[in-house]
Each structure stands twice: as C-alpha cells, then as structure tokens.
C-alpha cells in the first residue's frame, strides 16, 4: 500500500515538474500535461495512429522474439563451456557498448527499407544483453548442482529442464527485461530513419512539421506503454522464488 502511495506521489511530482518546465519554456518548446493528454486522446481516436501503432507492435513482436529466444540459445551455448564463455564475454560487452546507430546504414544496405530492417535493428539492440545475462548465469551455476545432476543420472534434457533452467531463471528474466526495452528503442530508432509507417516514423514526420504536440503525445504514449510492460516484467522477476 505504501509503495502504491509512493508511485502516485512520483507521478504527481513528475507532472508538476513538467508543468513548471512548460511555464518556463513556453508553448513553442513543449505542450503542457493537460494539452498533451488532450492531444493524445484525440490521436487515440484516429485510425492512422492505430495503424502506425500496429506496425510498430508487429516489428517489435518479431524483434523481441528473436532477441529473447536467440539470446537465450546463444547464451546457453557459450556459457556451457568455460573457455568459450571467457573468450566471448569481452567481445559481447564491446558490442553491447557500441553505438549501434552508426551501423544503421549497413543494416539498410543489407535488408533494404521496411519491415526486415526494423526487425534486424531491434534484434541487434536486444540480442546481446540477453546473451550476456544468460551466459553469465550459466557460468555461475554452482558446481554442486552439476554434480547432483550427475549423481542422479539425469540425461541432458532432464539436466537442462530441472537443474539449469531453474537455476538461471532470475538472471534470464532480468536480461529479458533489459532486452525488451532495448529492442523497443532499436525498433523505434529504426522507424525514425527508414520507414514510412510506425510510431517512430510518426515522431520523425511530426519533427519535420514542427508539430510539437504530436511528438509529445506519441513520446508520452510510448513511455507509458514501456513503463507498464517493464512493471509487469519486474513483477514476474520478483515473483520467481530464488
């Protein structure tokens, strides 16, 4: 209950800070909370908004599936062997901290404009953190667990399902949470440059028109959706027994 009160307090604080910023900066730079909410409500009533949102959701759904399934598979493969884990970790970390926007032209030249480029770009952002988290979790499983599996004569499938997976689940969920946010960012940035559809494109075209109300409304909509999704994943994260 106290946590809920804190959250309400936080939202009120953010809205107040936004309103004050609006008073200082004026309505050329940003719209007030009330005006943004009104504009967003109007946008939510248009078919065009939902077409763009559906396009983004489709690209994001594909990209996040590739990131999480691919990341876990790669992480397990690299983590099961100590040498491959130690060898690949610095490479993965270097790839993770690379500004991937610079590679965007490369993605476009390989995949062409449109859906596949967006999905590839989103997956590029999300795949690596999921891989890193899974790999580190597998590498840090206590040796006694492997010995237990051996003593009980479990086969590979049983070991994976009853020993390895439960042991690494918390880290994998944490990695998936990070992968989820980064994939969303990747897909949106992809849409900003190389798409004729999607919420990222909507922001980019509003930027060209100087339509600050639409930029704010879409950005706030995305933030709320992202925070809600993150809250669900956080809740799952905390609900896992460890």
């Amino acid at each position: 209950m106290k946590r809920l009160g804190d959250s309400v307090l936080l939202v009120i604080g953010i809205l107040a800070a936004w309103q004050v910023l609006f008073w200082i900066a004026g309505d050329i730079a940003l719209t007030s909370p009330a005006a943004t909410a009104a504009h967003l409500w109007k946008l939510l009533g248009t078919a065009r908004f939902w077409e763009n949102a559906a396009e983004t959701a489709r690209a994001f759904g594909l990209a996040v599936t590739i990131s999480i399934v691919g990341g876990i598979a790669l992480g397990v493969m690299l983590g099961l062997n100590r040498t491959s884990g130690v060898v690949s970790e610095p490479i993965l970390i270097a790839l993770y901290s690379l500004p991937k926007v610079t590679l965007y032209p490369l993605v476009l030249l390989c995949f062409g404009l449109g859906m596949s480029a967006k999905v590839a770009f989103g997956a590029m952002h999300g795949l690596i953190p999921v891989t890193i988290f899974t790999m580190k979790a597998i590498m840090q499983i206590k040796p006694v667990l492997w010995r237990t599996a051996h003593a009980m004569r479990l086969n590979v499938r049983q070991t994976a399902l009853t020993i390895a997976l439960p042991a690494v689940l918390p880290e994998v969920v944490a990695g998936a949470r990070l992968g989820f946010s980064l994939t969303l960012l990747g897909v949106l940035i992809g849409e900003m440059f190389a798409s004729q559809r999607g919420l990222g494109f909507m922001i980019m075209s509003a930027m060209g028109l100087g339509d600050i109300a639409t930029i704010m409304a879409v950005a706030v909509f995305l933030s709320v959706v992202a925070i809600a999704a993150n809250a669900v994943l956080l809740w799952i994260d905390r609900a896992i027994p460890r």
């Binding site: 307090l9 936080l10 060898v87 270097a94 690379l98 926007v101 969303l184 100087g210």
Partner: protein, 255 residues
C-alpha cells in the same frame, strides 16, 4: 595488463576476431557481398587512414569528442551529487525508486525532438539528451556504492572520532570508489551512444552526422571509414575503462 591479454583465452579471442575479419574480407573479395553493400575491411581501414590523414572530418570528430566529454562530465558530476543527496534522504529515495528501476525502459530518444525545439539544432540538445541517458546510471551506481560501505568502516570512523567531512574523504569515498568507477564507465558508454545517435538523427556536425550525410550521398567509402572509426574509438575506450573497472573490483574482493 600484458599478462592478462596474452592468457590462453586472450589468444583464442584474438584468433576468433582475426578469423572473423579474414572471413569477412574473403567473402567481400570473392564477390558474395557486393561492394555497393559492404566494403572489405581492408578498404575500410584504407579509407579511415585517408580520412585521418587529410583531416577533412577533423571538425566533426572534435565536435563529437567534445560533446561526449561534456556530457560524461556533466552526468558524472550531477549523478554523483544527486546520488549522495538521495542516499541522505531515504524517504525521497523510496519514492523515486520505481523511477530509477524503470528509467531505462523509456525510449529517451523519442524526446530528442523536444530538446531540439528547446535548444535549437546544435550541441545543447545533443548534450541534454546524452546527459539524460547517462545520468541515471551514475545515480544508481553512487547509491549502490554508498549502500555497500561495510559497517565496520563506519564504526572505525566513529572510534577515531572523525567528523562527517573527514569520514567522507577518508572512509566513505575510498570504500565506494569501485562502484563509482563502474558508474563513470557506464556514464561514458551511454554518453557516447547518446551523442552519436542524436547527431545521426538530426544535427549539423559530428561523426554521426557525417555518417548519415555520407549514407544519403551513397558515399560508401567515407561512410565505412567513419563507421570503423566509431567502432575502434568505442571499443578502445570501453576496453580501457572495463580493464580498470575489473581491477578495482578484484582488489575489492581480496580485502
């Protein structure tokens, strides 16, 4: 440093990277990947050498480095200060905790256009978005560092009858330093990503802008040269910071 790099794993790592580059080169040279899509790595290196030698992009490179440095310094300073303040106010911290936990879920870049309208196209908006992206990592690291100061050190400070200022300098700061350094490392990485990405989206100069410009003009040679420059810069800086970070962490574990 040398001992670490040339361990068995280090050699294998070097081999893996070399094999990847050679395979890439071979694929390009054999014509499996057309030159209009990707240049062979050797050509990228030649182009980068040319770029650095003629100095035609020096202004952009300097502008990017300046913005990254400014953003990183601002984030580290403000992040540290805010972290210390929040640590001292537990009630405030509890209220802000959900914000810190879900901050990186928000696609911050979507607010870049707002900053452009506010500050105009230029360093102001770029630094603002880069700071927004990196400051929270520093705040979180500062809070973790202050939380993890062993109680025994505080008791030691009490036994020596240290004042708050003296304790902060002699006990708290050194004890939290490894975590603070992790924060600096993250702040730098995020600042780099933030600056390059904002330059790419909309700006008048910088490496990100130069890459976007070259891309729009089908100037593959310069584009891949600059891309290689970004990859090398980011990897070198992050590897150096990461090495120092690991050393500090392992020293802490030995204590």
């Amino acid at each position: 440093m040398n001992r670490r790099v040339f361990s068995r794993e280090g050699w294998i790592r070097l081999g893996v990277i070399a094999a990847f580059v050679i395979a890439f080169e071979a694929f390009c040279r054999a014509g499996f990947i057309p030159r209009t899509v990707v240049l062979p790595p050797s050509d990228m290196a030649v182009s980068l050498w040319h770029i650095l030698q003629t100095g035609e992009y020096n202004k952009d490179i300097l502008s990017t480095l300046r913005n990254v440095a400014a953003s990183a310094v601002l984030s580290v300073t403000f992040g540290f200060a805010l972290g210390v303040i929040l640590h001292a106010l537990p009630r405030m911290r509890a209220t802000l905790e959900p914000l810190l936990a879900s901050y990186y879920a928000v696609p911050t870049f979507m607010f870049y256009p707002v900053f452009i309208v506010m500050f105009g196209v230029g360093s102001g908006a770029i630094i603002a978005i880069a700071v927004l992206l990196s400051v929270v990592a520093m705040i979180a690291s500062t809070l973790t560092g202050l939380d993890r100061i062993p109680r025994v050190l505080r008791k030691t400070a009490a036994i020596y009858r240290m004042g708050t200022a003296k304790r902060a300098v002699l006990i708290d700061f050194p004890a939290a330093a490894p975590y603070l350094f992790t924060g600096i490392k993250l702040a730098f990485a995020y600042a780099f990503i933030g600056v390059i990405a904002s330059e790419f989206i909309l700006s008048g100069q910088g490496i990100g802008y130069a890459i976007a410009y070259a891309y729009n003009n089908f100037d593959n040679r310069n584009m891949y040269g600059l891309m290689l420059l970004v990859i090398l810069l980011a990897t070198a800086a992050n590897t150096a910071l990461d090495t120092i970070d690991r050393r500090m962490q392992s020293r802490m574990r030995r204590q």
